[in-house]
Amino acid sequence: MSGGLWREALGALRDDRLAMTSAALLGVIAFAALVGPSLIDYREDEIDWSNMAAPPFEAEGHWLGTDRLGRDLLVRTLFGLRVSLAIALAATLVSLVIGVAWGALAGFRRGRTDALMMRFVDVLYSLPQVFFVIILTVVFGRSPLTLLVAIGAFGWLTMARIVRGQALALREREFVDAAIVGGSGTLRIVGRHIVPNLLGPVIVYATLTLPQVILVESFLSFLGIGIQEPLASLGNLIADGAAEMETAPWMLAVPAACLMLVVFCFNFLGDGLRDALDPRDR
């Protein structure tokens, strides 16, 4: 993809108001998750004995109220966002690396290697992936590291399929023939010539993978299999809120709204990027 095409895509993206709003919101949210907790007087695991289960805007200094242990909900939500976003980014990166390498190699080698590699992807596709992530958390313990590796290890399949399709097409282009004639090996061609040329679809799909990963992580944390107390993630905050919803519905509403906002923004941004980077639609 030439510089001109990138510039054109950026221009198209800038005209997409929904995608730009989402990107801006995500920026604000990420900034708040990073910096916010240090601006608030309470730490995420600090107990305010005089304000337990306080509703939003009532207790001094607790804008969004507190949970049943008197911990500030705003700080905990921002902290949970930080954890959820960090795991999502890392797991997406894991699935990105595996998916791109796998797909690019299969598409470049073609023939039997390709058939074998993609058959493997097909079989993994037919498995209930969430359940295998659960097995991995059982085996390796419920640490954030296990969680991101497990989610990443089963999240690369669609990426591999997309990349393989693109690589198959790129394989036919003259510059690949030129590189072969020039004596470059498979790894060098895949790394230097194939992968850089399929960045567009990879970026789009990575953006769309992020919200999926956030949802899987929150799902596991909701069940108690993911992020563990006292560490917060959006999932276990929602589980806490669900347990207390009769008496403290705001504890459910705040993290749930936060999760939905992030997921929506990533999806809108991903859709916008896809429209901008796909020259066919222009």
């Binding site: 059982v138 949802l215 069940l223 669900a242």
Partner: protein, 319 residues
């Protein structure tokens, strides 16, 4: 039905699909077995330090002192007899007993959710397509986007809050066998995302099919609109919905973990979550294998329905 010998070929097709499912199932068993053996340490590490002799006896009793391939052979032979081994943590139960205990509840939940999703999603999609661009269409599609994006673990507590706690129409949690009202909220929560997705698929594919030349031909023959839509367009338009059965099952099964935990239903999902929290290897392994088998079975049924709906595949099969 019109063709001679079609009955035979259907049976042959089912057999071929069944045979095709065996390698997938074998891979699932092998993968889940190997993954649990990757674990650092054994299942008895968390107990207060056992005397070495007792530990050795325990491991011998579970066959853990043998080489991995022998353990695998033993496990597979057990599976073929329907024996999933003992639960490591619920000492008085075998995994098979826990599965037999939870499966009926989970099946009732899952089947009801899938049927509700089809019964609501297909008509909603058709209605939306026929009112394309009007307010009805926009409302249905906006609801569908919301339904797809809101995860079960958010929608289920919200439903419990609104209909269970505020309105007091339905029980919030619990399970008394034979009281169907216990299943209403769980089934609705499970099926909402699937309803939304089915409605969107149905609308899109019906709109596309209605543009096809043979639909114009049917209209040109003067058929009433109702017959054109229901008899001519619908079977073709249903194909994408049928292909969605696999992902839908995956979503319902994963969602059932949330719903069973939240509403306190004694299904397989709750056992699986408990097993995962207890690091009960054999229990989790057995549950995952059963879930995977359920998914494969549903995919199989979906494939067969697809074949019977698509005349092109029917014709190919005769050749």
């Amino acid at each position: 039905m019109r063709y001679k010998g079609r009955g035979m070929s259907t049976i042959a097709l089912i057999l071929r699909r069944l045979l095709g499912a065996i390698p997938t199932l074998a891979l699932i068993v092998a993968l889940s077995f190997l993954l649990t053996r990757l674990a650092p340490g054994g299942p008895f590490d968390e107990e207060q330090s056992l005397p070495p002799e007792i530990r050795a006896n325990l491991e011998a009793a579970y066959g853990l002192d043998q080489p991995v391939h022998l353990q695998f052979g033993r496990y597979v032979r057990g599976l073929l007899r329907g024996d999933f081994g003992p639960s490591f943590k619920f000492r008085d139960f075998t995994v098979g007993e826990l599965i037999a205990d939870g499966l009926p509840v989970s099946l009732a939940l899952g089947v009801a959710a899938m049927l509700l999703a089809l019964a609501m999603g297909i008509p909603a999609g058709i209605w939306s397509a026929l009112n394309r661009g009007r307010a009805a269409d926009r409302i249905v599609m906006a609801l569908a986007v919301a339904g797809i994006s809101i995860p079960v673990f958010v929608i289920a507590p919200l439903l419990a809050l609104i209909f269970g706690i505020w309105l007091r129409w339905l029980p919030v949690a619990g399970w008394i066998p034979g009281r169907p009202s216990d299943l209403v909220l769980p089934v609705v929560a499970l099926s909402l995302p699937v309803i939304a997705y089915v409605a969107r698929l149905m609308r899109g594919s019906l709109l596309e099919v209605l543009r096809a030349p043979w639909i114009r031909a049917a209209r040109a023959r003067g058929l009433p609109e109702r017959a054109v839509v229901l008899r001519h367009a619908l079977p073709a338009a249903l194909l994408p919905v049928v292909s969605y059965a696999g992902p839908a099952a995956a979503s319902v099964l994963a969602g059932s973990l949330v719903v069973e935990t939240l509403f306190g239903l004694p299904g397989m999902g709750r056992h699986l979550v408990q097993g995962a929290l207890n690091r009960d290897y054999t229990l989790v392994m057995g549950m995952v294998i059963v879930y995977a088998a359920l998914m494969i079975a549903l995919n199989l049924i979906a494939d067969l329905v697809y074949d019977s709906l698509d005349p092109r595949i029917r014709r190919e099969r005769r050749l």
